[in-house]
């Protein structure tokens, strides 16, 4: 016959029936599996980030150099030699000034488009190009998709190229 339960006796019996380490191994195993999984995912993502950062830096470098490189496909057209020079005067000076500004804008557009083209060929997207005739500062970005959930991160890179003095 079972003895009657006393107020303190039930708790004591439960404590005795639940050993301290029962289920502990399962919990440790689950925690270990989680840590291992997380570490693997983080390692893969760090690798993807490092590779993408290197590719973005390559794209920025090449785009900055391309912005300073002279155009090969469409060389600038020169005026024919047989045409007489325009008459000097206030109106002509104004027209020449506009032409110079227009040519500068076209050259700027050409440099920017060359930089964008090379950045795209290297798998990146041109964000900004502060390009002049002697200096180009280029920023590009590249998207990286992380392994879990397809989270996308944007990696940016910046490069500056300066046209050096030609050798004597």
């Amino acid at each position: 016959m079972e003895p009657p339960c006393t107020p303190g006796g039930g708790a004591r019996a439960n404590l005795l029936e639940r050993p301290a380490e029962r289920g502990g191994a399962t919990l440790v195993g689950l925690a270990l599996a989680g840590v291992v999984l997380m570490a693997g995912v983080v390692a893969v993502d760090i690798g993807a980030l490092a590779g993408s950062r290197a590719a973005a830096q390559t794209a920025a470098d090449m785009a900055a150099l391309a912005a300073l490189a002279p155009e090969v496909e469409h060389p600038p057209q020169r005026e024919p030699a047989h045409e007489p020079p325009p008459e000097p005067g206030p109106a002509t000076d104004k027209g020449e000034g506009l032409d110079v500004i227009r040519a500068a804008y076209q050259a700027q557009d050409g440099r920017t488009s060359r930089a964008a083209e090379i950045a795209m060929a290297n798998g990146a997207e041109l964000m900004r190009c502060d390009c002049s005739a002697v200096q180009a500062v280029v920023s590009v970005r590249r998207r990286v998709r992380f392994v879990p959930g397809g989270l996308t991160v944007v990696v940016t890179a910046r490069a500056r190229a300066v046209l050096g003095r030609p050798p004597p």
Partner: protein, 136 residues
């Protein structure tokens, strides 16, 4: 009397499961070591990807300033650690661009088949005087 026997049996169960967590943890140590090695291998892959990208960039740059294929390949190999085998290919990409590709075989632990890391760089051709020969 019955309480005494229950206590005895509980004590016996406790004795059989005592230390099981420690035993399973000890059994998991090889798994931890294997995973650690695998992560080191993954980080090595990332490092090699960066190396291959740098080599491709050097090859593309060399080809863009007028160097021939041999010079571009030499530039790519110079950017890699000594003794590292790699395949370098430099081809014209249209009239104004050159494309350099580097394939770097990487060995992996646990007898996993080696993987080949590929990196590509595209550069715009630059006009100018031909480069100085390497022997001068």
């Amino acid at each position: 009397m019955a309480l005494a026997s229950r206590t005895r049996s509980t004590t016996g169960r406790l004795g059989s499961e005592s230390g099981s967590a420690t035993v399973e943890l000890a059994a998991a140590i090889p798994l931890l070591v294997a995973v650690t090695l695998a992560m080191v291998g993954l980080l090595g892959l990332a490092r090699d990807q960066v190396l291959a990208q740098g080599a491709a960039r050097e090859a593309a740059r060399e080809a863009a300033i007028g160097g021939d294929l041999a010079r571009a390949s030499a530039a790519a190999r110079a950017a890699l650690p000594p003794g590292r085998a790699a395949q370098v290919a430099v081809v014209p990409d249209g009239a104004v661009r050159v494309r350099a590709s580097v394939e770097l075989p990487v060995g992996l632990p646990f007898g996993v088949r080696p993987v080949v890391i590929k990196a590509t760089a595209v550069a715009a051709r630059e006009l100018g005087p031909p480069p100085i020969p390497a022997d001068q």
